[in-house]
Subunit: 531 residues, 2 copies
């Protein structure tokens, strides 16, 4: 069963061994887990729902609580400390566009706002219910999850947009296809959510971002349905898909989406390469990203992340042997790990991988074989469970991510980590910060930074610590010339920084679009831009 | 010098030999050229300008005439027959964003509409001056053409958006880079025009469409400047670039644009392959487009285009030898020519080309070597001069283009050609129609159709013939499920069909955006959507 106050399935654990705990204690001090409230207590804390009954709406406290929040750290704090101040007044589970329209009419009749809910994996406050004011109807899309059509000739598949990653891939795999979109949240996040937040998957190097995969679909808006037909390309005015991508529920609900699919790859392999230091590693990945080799993944950890990951992984003895072997080859304290993936037809993927490893070697890289890469592949959706394990030992884990042109990548990474390190000094607390480049482009890269710090045991203190940390690193991102999000979206949490890149005129343009589709400001109010 | 009433440089001619003329006479009847009016007579026909003097504005009849129209067939008819009913009241040539803002203020002060002018190559009526009503100021961007910055690390180059194709490539080539954007209009069209109309170049298979090349820039809008920063990717809400792409001058003028550039290719080669018939050729190009080979161009002519091109090319004896050689190999009457291009690093381009030719062979293709491909490369911007030559013999040439998912490609091509063939029956005239697939995608292809028909010598008759033909083929396009334009844009000429793909709600969304940036409806009114 899915955890109600943490990540993922309750059956999946990820333990931190003594060595890992000692490492964390050295970095930020010994942790002490706060006492989580029970599900029942959290339910009991909810104010009663304010919507009249409707056959499609579940107004039970249990269901309302399970759809009240996402996976951001403040969301976790609210759940763990039992401080869920706001929840939807009801949650609906439509099975058709007609039911969605029916629910819009119900919301309109009762002056309710509407929050679209996909997999509940937002880490930016997309699902937060506004305080006070009108009632809120959350529309959960999980029952609209069937593959509705598959066109093998055009390689297009149409899905109910509430389909989750595993369900989508399973339905495609049965026919020999894949979408190839694997965000970290893959287990729960949905196609509709990916589109609404401009998601990016771990193998975007091969398959592209969701922007490129989303070919068309149907959006139910308060002003009526918007059907976006599929074309391979078009110069016919503004691209309507681009109004939906990143709209974060502000203009309606994507109910059906057609995506561009690929044949399942013949072969797929992930290899690890270590570099003696960051600069050599960066030069290598830039050359790889600009070299046009048909790779499927590049993921470069900086030195702190490399050593943190090797330590937290367990397998102390194996890691010690690996590090000794690497040290002999010049990769010591500042070493950085690169994962290189290639997927596709044998005749293309193998030469590409060979060429990539050769290029890495010419930049001082030491090929460590397939073991670590395959381990990454097996655990690719498991590392996020680390948040649960860390919490159980009294540590909070949070992340931010951005993307920047190449000259800004390293300065931004350093500035983000420095801002994090300084953020909690007022409380006498340290932050352990590390980063990787998760998506590489000819133009630049995304920087994905992780922060570990201690929980205080007090909701107010921990929320204030998060706020201070979030402000510091977000300021650092925009000052370094980065976008406030490369793959998580804006929601509530990133909205204060959005004006940096959009300007007032650009924010206004987004608002003008939303007003057109949703003149009453009913849809996910307050997210992205002021309502 | 540039022709004022036709395509291109006066020094460049393209003759039709006797064999070609006999072919055209067989297809649509013998032609008789109408009498073109002189430049002076056309100037004398303009009504006086209605704007007061401004230091940046040239209100001479000569300059106003030269900026009154684009290159669509109705534009040609107006120029050739001396029926330029409307022209801008003045033409400005700003050299900075400040001057553009100054011109906006001037236009506002005098209630004038503003038409942005790039290279004047629109074939969809983007530049048409509205009839009557307020005065019109055309802002010609040709003086803002410098490379303003080059970032070799991020492979970004910033240009004044009025830069033409050759000027842009020359400035990049000096540093070893290319944009790789080569639309047929390359000689004159501009970066700003490409962005505003969502242009696609002949080698988009390698370099992508302008949507992917345009990384950011600055738009002067009536509500102030919109600066769009560059990121490799972002999930921060709606992408502002996508509001500019395809906006066709309706929200402001792109004054500076940053584009993603590539290293000049080490090698580049174009080869020709002939197929015995359309179905085999189509299967081959679909497999090529979906195979992910790093090719730079695929261009497949149908049987009528193949024979037309071979006939119009001159070189009768060489063509006869080629056809005899092809006939021995099974490519006879219905044969279709495919051009395959590969560009890039030697180590990637050569194997890709080899693999492509192998795949084509397995689909029944006959490799005809590099000669025809190289000839295409040398003449790639020359074939459009054929319009001048045809006119001189009494023939009009017009084109339409669309893009469709694979299952719709062949039916659409047939429907477009059938609609063209039937269009002028009321006048007892025939239309010679032929097509090629100009851009190939895993999802589908663009269909580019050319029509040749006789001129009548009467402006009204020829305009009516064009109207009838345009209506027929445009209806065929949208009924077949195609977009009304893959690369030419919408302008005035395609606007009646835009609702088919956007719906009323989508059209309204575009209009809402334009109103936000341009509340007075000053910018290029009437283009794309009703003002």
């Amino acid at each position: 069963m899915r955890r109600w106050n943490g990540w993922g399935d309750e059956a999946v654990g990820m333990a931190l061994d003594d060595n890992a705990l000692a490492f964390l204690a050295r970095q930020v001090g010994a942790g002490r887990a706060p006492q989580d409230v029970s599900f029942e207590a959290a339910c009991a804390g909810l104010a009663p729902g304010r919507l009249p009954p409707h056959p499609l709406v579940d107004a039970s406290a249990r269901t309302r609580l399970l759809h009240a929040l996402g996976q951001s750290l403040p969301d976790w704090l609210r759940l763990r400390y039992g401080r869920v101040d706001t929840a939807p007044d009801g949650v609906a589970f439509p099975e058709s566009g007609e039911q969605v329209r029916d629910l819009f009419a119900f919301a309109a009749a009762h002056g309710a706002a509407v929050i679209p809910y996909g997999g509940g994996t937002s880490v930016a406050g997309h699902l937060t219910v506004p305080n006070g004011g009108r009632p809120v109807l959350t529309i959960a899309m999980g029952r609209m999850r069937a593959m509705l059509a598959l066109d093998p000739e055009a390689r297009l598949a149409r899905f109910g947009a509430g389909v989750s990653g595993p369900d989508l891939e399973a339905q495609l795999r049965a026919h020999g296809y894949t979408l190839g979109h694997f965000p970290q949240s893959f287990e729960y996040s949905t196609l509709g959510g990916w589109v609404a937040t401009r998601s990016s998957g771990q193998q975007s190097l091969r398959y592209g971002r969701i922007e490129g995969l989303f070919a068309g679909g149907r959006v139910e808006t308060p002003q009526g349905p918007l059907e976006i037909p599929t074309f391979p390309a078009s110069s016919a005015g503004i691209d309507l898909r681009e109004m939906v991508l990143g709209s974060e529920g502000r203009l309606g609900i994507l109910t059906e989406a057609t995506v561009r699919v690929s044949r399942l790859p013949e072969v797929e392999a992930f290899h690890a390469v270590f570099f003696p230091g960051w600069d050599a590693a960066l030069a290598a990945v830039r050359a790889l990203a600009q070299g046009g080799l048909p790779l499927s993944m590049l993921r470069l950890s900086n030195a702190v992340e490399t050593s943190t990951m090797l330590t937290l992984a367990g397998h102390t003895r194996a890691v010690r042997l690996l590090e000794a072997w690497l040290a002999l080859r010049g990769c010591r304290d500042g070493k950085c790990m690169l994962l290189v993936g290639a997927s596709g037809a044998r005749a293309q993927a193998r030469p590409a991988l060979r060429a990539a490893l050769g290029l890495a070697r010419r930049h001082g890289g030491v090929h460590a074989g397939r073991g670590l890469g395959e381990r990454w592949r097996r655990k690719r959706f498991r590392s996020v469970y680390l948040r649960n394990a860390a919490w159980a030992h009294g540590y909070a884990i949070d992340t931010v991510e951005t993307a920047l042109d190449w000259p800004r990548v390293t300065p931004a990474m350093r500035a983000i980590e420095a801002a994090a390190a300084a953020a909690l000094q007022g409380w006498g607390e340290r932050v352990h910060a590390y980063s990787h480049l998760s998506h590489l482009y000819p133009q630049g890269a995304s920087v994905y930074s992780t922060f570990v710090f201690r929980l205080s045991g007090s909701f107010e203190t921990d929320l204030a610590r998060w706020r201070r940390l979030k402000d510091g690193v977000s300021d650092a991102i925009v000052q370094a010339g980065g976008t406030i999000s490369h793959q998580h979206g804006v929601g509530l949490d990133h909205a204060p920084w959005l004006g940096h890149e959009k300007g007032a005129l650009g924010l206004g343009a987004m608002a003008a679009l939303f007003r057109h589709f949703d003149p009453d400001g009913r849809m996910n109010p307050g997210k992205l831009v002021a309502p």
